[in-house]
Amino acid sequence: CFISLRTFTRQGTCLFRPQFGILCRHAVPMGTTANEEMNTFWAKNNKLNRPMSPHLTIYKWSMPMMMSITHRGTGVGLSGGISAFALLALVLPGNYPYYLDLIHSLSVGPALLSLAKFGIAFPVSYHTLNGIRHLFWDSGKGFKIPEVYRSGYVVIVLSILTSIAAIAYM
């Protein structure tokens, strides 16, 4: 979703070029920002008590859509995890090795341990690799639909592989 305070330009006809004798298209900046336009939209529709049209429930889900929301989900999850970690660091009395040994002493089996490691490694690697994909888009590259799908599959495969590698070799 691109939300910014970028001012949109609107087509206007410029009439101060009489030597051409024809109407030429000229970009004229609007008086409102994108943010203002959005707020106006929501204020008006909420005031009129309008229901929202169905969207997520009716559109066909595509791979790029799923990857996008997964990128957001992993981002929110990782951010929450970091904040939780920071809060615990401030609040809990003991130090980190103490709590790590505490968790280890619960003698969690190797399968569950690997699962937990995967649960941390996969969001990190997926969000990082898809993040790189986003940065390529930001530079203007890779927008053709086949490219979008191809880069998407590469991200998914590499995420799984790097997560497994992180568990197996580190």
Partner: protein, 146 residues
């Protein structure tokens, strides 16, 4: 959709527009200069949003570089840099999520204040951890050792 190329740009850039009209009276291509802050528009536009966007990308790239940095050069310099970059990247990221889903002036203000508080506490907690405990790099290493 007409054949004219339309450019939406921040108003401080100037772009050449090549337009083609298929009308009888104009068989040749037109070139017109688009001036953002032209004489038709007296006000100026804040670059805040554009700079914020660029800032987000810069922090993302820096955070990316800190991965190998943490692996090959663990220590307090990377620990505190990681604390700052992670917090800022997360703060701006959650900010975008809130902008997308929260509407209405008072609600927007409230959740952004809450986010600011959370990010401040997060940064404080990570710095506290770096100072009084093993630090982020060591923590990850220890976590993975078992």
């Amino acid at each position: 959709m007409d054949e004219h190329a339309l450019f939406y740009r921040s108003s401080l850039l100037s772009r050449t527009l090549v337009a083609q009209q298929k009308d009888q009276d104009c068989p040749y291509p037109l070139t017109a200069r688009i001036h953002g802050s032209s004489s038709l528009y007296a006000g100026s536009v804040s670059k805040a949003a554009s700079l914020h966007w660029t800032g987000e990308r810069v922090v993302s790239v820096l955070l990316l570089a800190m991965g190998p940095a943490a692996y090959y050069f663990p220590g307090p310099a990377v620990d505190y840099s990681l604390a700052a970059a992670l917090t800022l990247h997360g703060h701006w990221g959650i900010g975008q999520v809130l902008t997308d889903y929260v509407h209405g002036e008072p609600k927007i203000k409230m959740v952004n204040a809450g986010l600011f508080l959370l990010s401040t506490v997060t940064f404080a907690g990570l710095c506290y951890f770096n100072y009084n405990d093993v630090g982020i790099c060591k923590a990850v290493a220890l976590l993975w050792s078992k």
